[in-house]
Symmetry: D3
Amino acid sequence: MLNKNIETFIGCDNEYDESGIVIFGAPFDSTTSFRPGTRFASKVMRGESFGIETYSPYQNKDLEDFNVYDGGDLELSFGNTERALGQIEEYTRKVVQDGKIPCMIGGEHLVTLGAVRAVAEQYPDLHIIQFDAHADLRDDYLDEKLSHATVIHRVWDILGDGRIFQFGIRSGDRSEFEWGRNHVFTNKFNFNGLEEIVESLKGKPVYLTIDLDVLDPSVFPGTGTPEAGGVSFMELLQGILTVSGLNIVGCDVNELSPIYDQSGVSTAVACKVLRELILAVGTEK
Amino acid sequence: MLNKNIETFIGCDNEYDESGIVIFGAPFDSTTSFRPGTRFASKVMRGESFGIETYSPYQNKDLEDFNVYDGGDLELSFGNTERALGQIEEYTRKVVQDGKIPCMIGGEHLVTLGAVRAVAEQYPDLHIIQFDAHADLRDDYLDEKLSHATVIHRVWDILGDGRIFQFGIRSGDRSEFEWGRNHVFTNKFNFNGLEEIVESLKGKPVYLTIDLDVLDPSVFPGTGTPEAGGVSFMELLQGILTVSGLNIVGCDVNELSPIYDQSGVSTAVACKVLRELILAVGTEK
Amino acid sequence: MLNKNIETFIGCDNEYDESGIVIFGAPFDSTTSFRPGTRFASKVMRGESFGIETYSPYQNKDLEDFNVYDGGDLELSFGNTERALGQIEEYTRKVVQDGKIPCMIGGEHLVTLGAVRAVAEQYPDLHIIQFDAHADLRDDYLDEKLSHATVIHRVWDILGDGRIFQFGIRSGDRSEFEWGRNHVFTNKFNFNGLEEIVESLKGKPVYLTIDLDVLDPSVFPGTGTPEAGGVSFMELLQGILTVSGLNIVGCDVNELSPIYDQSGVSTAVACKVLRELILAVGTEK
Amino acid sequence: MLNKNIETFIGCDNEYDESGIVIFGAPFDSTTSFRPGTRFASKVMRGESFGIETYSPYQNKDLEDFNVYDGGDLELSFGNTERALGQIEEYTRKVVQDGKIPCMIGGEHLVTLGAVRAVAEQYPDLHIIQFDAHADLRDDYLDEKLSHATVIHRVWDILGDGRIFQFGIRSGDRSEFEWGRNHVFTNKFNFNGLEEIVESLKGKPVYLTIDLDVLDPSVFPGTGTPEAGGVSFMELLQGILTVSGLNIVGCDVNELSPIYDQSGVSTAVACKVLRELILAVGTEK
Amino acid sequence: MLNKNIETFIGCDNEYDESGIVIFGAPFDSTTSFRPGTRFASKVMRGESFGIETYSPYQNKDLEDFNVYDGGDLELSFGNTERALGQIEEYTRKVVQDGKIPCMIGGEHLVTLGAVRAVAEQYPDLHIIQFDAHADLRDDYLDEKLSHATVIHRVWDILGDGRIFQFGIRSGDRSEFEWGRNHVFTNKFNFNGLEEIVESLKGKPVYLTIDLDVLDPSVFPGTGTPEAGGVSFMELLQGILTVSGLNIVGCDVNELSPIYDQSGVSTAVACKVLRELILAVGTEK
Amino acid sequence: MLNKNIETFIGCDNEYDESGIVIFGAPFDSTTSFRPGTRFASKVMRGESFGIETYSPYQNKDLEDFNVYDGGDLELSFGNTERALGQIEEYTRKVVQDGKIPCMIGGEHLVTLGAVRAVAEQYPDLHIIQFDAHADLRDDYLDEKLSHATVIHRVWDILGDGRIFQFGIRSGDRSEFEWGRNHVFTNKFNFNGLEEIVESLKGKPVYLTIDLDVLDPSVFPGTGTPEAGGVSFMELLQGILTVSGLNIVGCDVNELSPIYDQSGVSTAVACKVLRELILAVGTEK
């Protein structure tokens, strides 16, 4: 009764040493060019996660049968992008060196770069699967190299051609799509072709990055740049399950901006996506 | 011009004696464990119902051709669950004894228990069809026997095995699903199999309880515990039409919490569901 | 650096003389009987349009390759309906007489009447394609002849039988549907049959009016009278593309009421619909 | 238990014949030039009035000791200003001819014109006391003679010089203040001088019109045109009490726009102002 | 870096044994008759507390110089009022028996009863100072003895005449004020007379209960029953400082309902009140 | 009728060359550590400014009698703080070199640093008057030198001791207040002593920076870090008028974050503050 108030995502209250998955928040949104606010995603998700169950009727699995550690939120430097990425990289490096799967909650999509730097260091043959509404392939954005709009181009700087697989993309400028044609695999609008890609990646280390704005804004209005014409929750869930047979060595969910959805539905959706993601990539006790 | 201000759901301004359907509000949400607020549903629905038409292009029927009485809201005891259920039971008993169909607007789902007690007394062979996101089959919840999370288990206490048919269920703890397997019929996620069930229930007295959170949160965010992956309005409408051939002796719609959807869309959806429900179960003048 | 602040819809910053399409706002909602607020649509859309891209991956076209002029908002008389319609008519007449396509942003749907008066004057053989949730075919509404609920009846007064083609209609009173059966083509609920209608209208001048409430309220809650059971963004987009082969001589989008959707998603959807509409009906430089 | 649902403002459920005060709603806002929505004020106030008590600790009086009839809302023509004013005038005439005090809930401030027409007919020596942030003295607004911005000028057309007394005014264009100097009494910013005016009006018939935006926007954000620098609730209450000794033959409260204050505080304030107003101008049983 | 996520109110992260003050949340609102939602107050306050500083320029003290333990939230039974009160009582008893000051965050005001039961047991000569908008003196409410509207009457059942001192009261029914006249000290509307009362209570054990709705709704809209005409933050702060010289043996702040103030200002105010309260009643290390 | 849509703050539509005051937006909030969103302030203020009048009854002046140019918003680099400050500095330099008064709309408070760099270059004897809730005197914040929380310390780096005068301060950590005691003049909580300071600064060049959170959150909830206990609008207005006799060579208003106040009241207040500021520091034609 008289214990300190430990707040974790529901069912993720295991000790670090015994855990196979480590979730942590990366509350950073300084390069967001349109509507900021993703910095509050991880904190709000923890609080609201108690509105969902630990049990998934989709996968017939229960978070209570998994060892997941919730490390809380990193304390990141607002306004100093390079330093913040370094802090994310350092934390992720510790997790992967300890043989655990990092599962980061953004923040804006740029946070993925910090995590991928550390994961790619450990797994040089790393491949990326990206669920997203936006291509994020610009080389620079308003003269900046480090931006939510350039993050996958920066990831490509590390990994090179043939390693990045995008699904659900429905927004970008013309040059992004043209550049992408030669460097990454892009499937527009939906998850068509995902099964074939998964087949070809069997056995390889894969980082899965889920920009939640891949969802239709009707399902997920609480995001900085809502893009009409997205996928449904069931399609995203199916996408996660399709990927789950792979060797996922790191993952993230990002771009929830709770303030823009005062019904709380976007947060509830994000919590459920995270639950299903953990159940899909983790290993039961 | 100088009459008192009578406020009813649109098109439901008939006298009690001449009516076949009696709608009434049960503004109770004291056992809601996550986000309360359903107590305001019936009042807000009456006010907003004037944004919809009395005519349904789906059924080609018009509320003005039906005799429906709106009895307003019961004045229930907040914080005394057993007493509030008794008040609901008493009102419903009067309605069914007068040979009318009670159509209750919740409130949290627990209010269904009060109505079912009275209806089952009149119709001992009562069966239940439940459209819902949540199984609501716990035996107790935080040590309480009477809770929105236990309501269908309590209904089962009255009716026993083989009388309860659930559709759209996508949330619960593992034990609920396991217990349910032996005692109720549960179809997860959607309305598959509804037609067969309806076929088997022909001629029997049926109580239809619609927890509006069976709808996808994109369609119906204004509820206490939104669950991603629900049905569309057209699917729910089809479900109601499928059931409409049965001998419906009581029904309810519940779990609208208007404060969580400030766009008013959830209320508008609830009003349309209620209109279609009345047109489906009632008899034209 | 030191220029005045010109605010246009994204990518629509061309000069009037060089432009083929003229967009302008008609901020009028005085006859709205339920929830007003569409008067703010055009202003809010301009501001938020910078959250979308000029490039469409659906049509592989870019607004920057089109000549579009944004004339800002008309200054309309609130509370004097006939005068406001006259102001809209006058502006539209100038645009069509200069050989350009007017593309109006409402406002409530009644504004369409002002534009159609001018366009029909120039193109006596004008036909109307209407995407809408509501039939808008009443002859009068609360004794008023000029109303958002009568606008298409007023358009019929000008054009007569066989010229009006409605799609997506799912709300109206019984008399509207009955009257409509003899005077206009109505396809309820969706866009079925649109291709045949388009085939039959080849070569004829067509005015396309998009009441955005044809969209499902989950996609577009920010409107005065949300109607459950609408089309998805992809269906509306497909509808626009289907129509795009016709000789569109005028068009409008209307009934966005930003205040009712504080997530901003409805505005973002409206912006994308307008982008796709311009790309579909315009001609590349 | 089985009565129809009569909805009145709290404690105002008496019969017409026995009542001394008649409250009614005038849900009209068609000439509002900035943010509409006052049409919903009376309906929302009735519903929320049950959050306050009938007893006033300020006046030590209780609504239950007064005979007040609530006639509900007039059904007004949106978009036809003259007709709507005529409907208000007609209803008010009936009330004053029956020797009762009309107490109207707006709507935009223009509704006052309809009521004053009828009251001035009965009481040719009528005087007006106006609590307001805005002078409302324009002769026309965007070329319209009938507008929320011209209403007091129109009232002056009926009553002439020396009959109108404004308090709390803090917004207007320069010409309004200049014109007003010769035709009405205006006290800017607060209620200074109200006692002297009240002294001078002893025994004369007075119509009190309270534009609730006289309150500071911190107290009352839910209005179309919030103006910083207003009075507190206690100052407004004191203003009402100061006036209460006069022969008030009609009154109104207007310009609540509930949608702009989702906390509900503005509505709660409006309810309390209305309670205090009734207790101040009415007579105990 | 790799510690579990402990979430406390800002600056209240000390160990239980070393602390003089114990804060804990009592998330209960089942008897709320108007607008529920206070159950979320403590959780939201912890999260938002990081928007304020630990240092108070008013008292020139810093939370970091105090030993305060945050025990998190009690897990209370929704819908079973007596059991929930028992859980609060039990927790409070442990705290007071350990010689510490309990500082509870409500929840609805009824939670005070649970805490007072335990504190009065330890300190039979207990006195109560209540800052509140509502008298809360009903003997029953809708036939219930245990209610937010009866809580101070229930406290009186324990303590008897002459022990309860109310300030700021501005709402209640007539009978409450009349009953109160003989049993409790009530100062309406403000804190006049507080200094004299404080003088008379020197040396006696005092429980301070702050219903935050004593604040004006402009300052604190996020509450279930906002009452116009309240005190300012500076007045409440002065009230707390005035009381601080007494022997405060327990205290609470209650009735924040975050959902009703989406600006977050009410939560920020509540956090600052709690900070000042702790600094006022605690002892520096 | 067919002009491009030029959007300026109301009454500020003069040409650059003829203007004495230049307003421009600095939409930057990347270092905001709590709630971001001030980037939208200037755009939203322009749109909403048409809800206020150009005439001030407080100063009996009218914006239409002043020459003010609105240069729109700077396009700043998100996430690159130093570059963004450079862009602000460059624009301000142009304005002051042309002999005009820059009047910047933030953005977070850090933008003041960019403007002050340019103004201090032109006026080496520059003094600063700061109206603010927060001291903003930290030397670094989360290891960053450039932050909203350090901005006045950075300004001090340029100007040195005895040049900075703070009013209204009610939040900071203890070290800020202690450091400030030796380097700047700080008046806590209100504007006491402002007249004496103004007297002592007669004839000297002064930059006035108004962090709008100096206002009480009841008046101005739409800001990132609301601090209870602030000044009223009338007090702030009086503060501006007191300062207006000085030689104001630059000024700014900042920290409006519109998303946090969906009533729009904060924006309306900010517009009125800007109107009064322009009227106070400008020169009539």
